[in-house]
């Protein structure tokens, strides 16, 4: 069966329809079947619907995504309560250890994203991976810094990512590789993204799964949960009526 490729982190300016349309068309041309554009809590639902329609025109599937940037644990819980049922993918930007730990153990969080340039603020360690492996959270890695950075900064980033991937592998935690780009020229084909992932020891099938199967699993799981027929994991409402 042909692999379906996913980019869960395409950063578009929804206020610029021409650039947005071009980016969506380019994603389709590069071989993606599903894309996701991050929203923030202030994003209007109509903008998300507009993006969904643009994707449909280009023959792409679209998954709504929200990026939460809470300051503390309580704020994360409040935001999750408010937005979990409105979006297909929930990503938490972990800028403090407290938030990172709560996000890892909360089953409502799909993706854990860590600041890529400040290595001291990357709280992805063994404790974090253990918590995440018991929950549903997946580690998200953007390839944009790999393309933009040069020299010692890129060397440090690669070494940091390699260590994190090893920790994720040890705890059987899935990894998602996304583009994280807003510039069209930095968009890469899915297999090129997988090739770039080999720089941080995510090779072969694991790299391909990080751009296809792993993100697709998140979207499918959440679509099922958000559908009206969902009762509990594994239980679905098939028929409703007096003769049941």
């Amino acid at each position: 069966m042909k692999r379906a490729f996913v980019d869960l982190h395409l950063r578009l300016n929804s206020k610029d329809p021409t650039a947005t349309t071009r980016a969506i068309q380019k994603s389709a041309a590069l071989g993606y079947t599903l894309i996701s554009v991050p929203s923030n809590p202030q994003t209007h639902p109509e903008e998300t619907e507009q993006l969904r329609n643009l994707c449909k025109t280009a023959g792409l599937d679209f998954a709504s995504r929200i990026d939460l940037r809470p300051r503390n644990q309580n704020e994360l819980l409040v935001l999750l309560r408010k937005f979990r049922r409105k979006f297909e993918v929930v990503c938490t930007l972990c800028e403090s250890k407290e938030v990172a730990r709560q996000a890892a153990k909360d089953r409502r969080v799909d993706l854990l994203n860590f600041p890529l340039l400040d290595y001291r603020d990357r709280f992805f360690d063994r404790a974090e991976a253990e918590l995440a492996s018991n929950g549903l959270a997946t580690l998200e890695i953007d390839v944009k810094p790999l393309l933009v950075l040069e020299g010692p900064a890129r060397v440090r980033l690669l070494s940091c990512l390699r260590r994190e991937i090893q920790v994720a592998k040890d705890y059987h935690m899935p990894v998602v590789v996304s583009s994280g780009v807003s510039n069209l020229m930095l968009l890469r084909k899915p297999r090129e993204m997988a090739a770039l992932a080999s720089l941080f020891s995510l090779e072969g099938v694991s790299a391909l799964e990080a751009v296809s199967q792993n993100p697709l699993t998140i979207v499918r799981r959440n679509r099922e949960k958000l559908s009206g027929s969902f009762v509990a994991p594994g239980i679905r409402l098939i028929k409703e009526g007096t003769d049941c």
């Binding site: 393309l147 040069e150 020229m185 930095l186 084909k189 090129e192 090739a195 720089l199």
Partner: protein
């Protein structure tokens, strides 16, 4: 003696400028040496087989063993002659004939 297996890569340059063959190869060599160093670049033993500046198409030959590294280096190219650019792999094959057949298909 063991035969060295080769692979041919058809590449599409995505850029607003039209670089010459030398400028294109400088960008490719630059990316490979930046990522893998001169020793790593020497293991790739790649060569430019064909370059069409107008169509922005190129055919590159490399060792099978070093192909993953070449693909990674090509994906890391962000500029050619100082202008924003990207290099996409269109097809990979063991012979030039099969490569052209893949491109036509």
């Amino acid at each position: 003696m063991k035969r060295i297996k080769r692979r041919y890569l058809a590449l599409q340059l995505d850029s607003e400028c039209v670089p010459s063959q030398k400028e294109f190869m400088d960008a490719v060599w630059g990316a490979v040496t930046k990522l893998y160093g001169e020793y790593g670049a020497s293991l790739t033993s790649f060569a430019l087989i064909h370059y069409d500046a107008q169509e922005k198409l190129a055919v590159l030959r490399t060792n099978l063993a070093a192909m993953d590294n070449v693909r990674t280096a090509l994906a890391s190219i962000t500029s050619v002659t100082g202008k924003e650019a990207a290099v996409h792999v269109l097809a990979v094959s063991g012979t030039i004939k099969a490569l052209h057949a893949q491109l036509k298909a």
